[in-house]
Structure formats: C-alpha cells, structure tokens
Symmetry: C2
Subunit: 150 residues, 2 copies
DNA sequence: AGGTTTTAAGACTCTTTAATCTTAATATAA
DNA sequence: TTATATTAAGATTAAAGAGTCTTAAAACCT
C-alpha cells in the first residue's frame, strides 16, 4: 500500500478541516462521526499533525483542532511526511540500503523518476484546492455521500 | 511502503534468475544464500511466481526454479501483480470504495495520473533489461557487492 | 528398494500496524 | 467549585505482514 491507513485518515481529516475552515476549532468527535473513523484512532493521528505544526488544538468546551495556516498553504506532502515520513520517497525499490546515484541498483534510475512524479504531485497539491473541488463538484471524502453532507 | 517485502524479494530473485538465464534450474537454496533472504520465506514467494506462470520448478537433485519465458518478455509488472496484486494500481488515495470516474474523490484525477506513471514504468521494464544493466555496470541486487558476485 | 536432494505445504511465532479502552489533563461555564 | 466537554497519553487488544520450523512429496542416484 502506498500510504498507510493512518495517513489516508489524516488526509481525509485534513480535507475536512480545509472544507470547514473558520476561526473555530472543530471537535474531533464531530470529524470521527462524519468521516466514520474511530474517534481514538483519529485523535492520535491528529496529534501527529498537531505536533508537526500543521494543526493546532484546544481543550475543553468549544475546543477541537484547526489548521494553523490556511489550507491554501498546506500541501498533501506535508501531511504525508508528518504521518508516514519520507520512507516512500527515499526507499530503494529493491530495499537496498544506501541506494543512490553512487551505489545504485538496476531499478534505481527509473524508480527515482517515478518517485519524483509522486513527489511533484504531493507537493503541488494543496488542501484548499482539493476541498474547493470537493465542494464545487460535491465529491466525497467518505464512503457514502458527498462533501455537502459533512 | 509501495511494495511489500515479499514483492521486493520476488523482484530481486527474478532479476537473479534473469541474470543467470540458462536451461538449468537454479536451486532456491543458492538464491537464498546469495541474496541473503530466508530460504523458507523465499520458497513461498517463488511458489507464488510459479503458480502465476512466471517460473517453473523442478524437484529433486539438479532441481530448482527458472523463468518459463525469456526474461526479455517478463515485465516488473507481472512480478508485482503476482505477489502484491493490483491493489496499488487501483486503490483510491483516500481509501474510498468504488472511487473512479463515476464516483471520484477530490484526489482521484491527480492520483490516477500519478498511478499511471508507476504503471507505465512497471510495464515497460523487463527483467532482462535490468539484469543486463546490472551485469554491464556491476550494480547490486544485494546489500553488499555487485552483480558479478552472484 | 533405500537414501539423498530438492520443492511444496502447512503450522507456528514474531513484529508491525491498526484499533480500542482507560485514565489523566485542561478548559469552560453554571 | 463542581460538573461537563474536550484533547492527551498510555495500556491493551486485534489483525496483518514477515519470518521460521516441521513434515510431506517428488525426483534422482546407487
């Protein structure tokens, strides 16, 4: 699997936040209900995004989480790095340690090109861009229903 | 991780076979020693490639496995599909069931483009091509040492 | 036939990831 | 200041992936 489940959940939650952007904090419970993700599991994932400086959280009534910066600035890459790390973007296709231009494996070159495509996509796509697209076209970030139901 | 460990081992073993192509069967023990992969684990992986019609095996003295067709014909895609399946190439980036042009998620379009790049690379690369490159440049398919040591 | 070499197959264990549960800490508000 | 709402953190359980071990089956050789 390209992205871990944690990472996929993190992306969906981030898109949710980008689509509900306001000054207010959004309770995790609300997100876990809407997105149908286990509350406690989602909480831990969002903690990773918080400590990575992507979200900020607030406890108590009317607390929750929200994007620190506008979703305009936040790329998919940031979310992926915060949760899955850079493993996917650095690891050799044959799993060999230290694979690179100095000590390549036979697949290295082609693989590096392919990886760069993935990297470019993740770096050039922002949360706001996708959330806007989701709203405009009523696309979904949950199994059933569209963006409007969120 | 993009490819499972089983898949990576399968690729390395397939490259080994492509680099030793002959009429003879290659014992799995020899491969597991050279490639530093657990014998029993490698055996299971090669069984998958055998039942997928990529390898054929023979028991008893002078037995082992070999590529059914020339490595010229075998693409990386075939090996990946036999071991990891098409999950990576079909799965939605947000993990939503049935994501496609009819019911897309906001990332679907960009993701599909990126996935196609991966697909193209895997489909256009053959074992022989990589094994030849590995021999010519003495690249490695094991942590230490080059192709020549195999 | 009997012993040896090899793959095949299944049971088992270990590790990592995913998910849940419980308790603590923090903030609000009546 | 007490009750409530919320995130934080750690312990625990469940499931999947990775790896090992044992036994069986097939083929060869003497």
């Amino acid at each position: 699997m390209l992205l871990s489940k944690s990472c996929v959940y993190g992306l969906r939650a981030s898109l949710y936040l980008a689509g509900h952007q306001s000054e207010n904090y959004i309770p995790i419970r609300q997100m876990s209900d809407k997105l149908e993700i286990s509350f406690h599991f989602l909480t831990k994932i969002l903690q990773q995004l918080t400590s990575a400086g992507i979200l900020e959280s607030y406890k108590g009534p009317n607390g929750g989480v929200r994007l620190i910066r506008s979703g305009e600035d936040v790329t998919l890459m940031e979310v992926v790095l915060a949760i899955d790390g850079d493993y996917m973007l650095t690891q050799c296709a044959l799993g060999l340690p230290g694979c690179g231009v100095m000590k390549p494996c036979p697949i290295h070159e082609k693989w590096a090109e392919t990886r760069d495509k993935i990297r470019d996509m993740l770096e050039s796509t922002t949360l706001t861009e996708l959330a806007k697209k989701g709203k405009d076209l009523d696309l979904r970030i949950t199994a059933e229903g569209g963006f409007e139901d969120l």
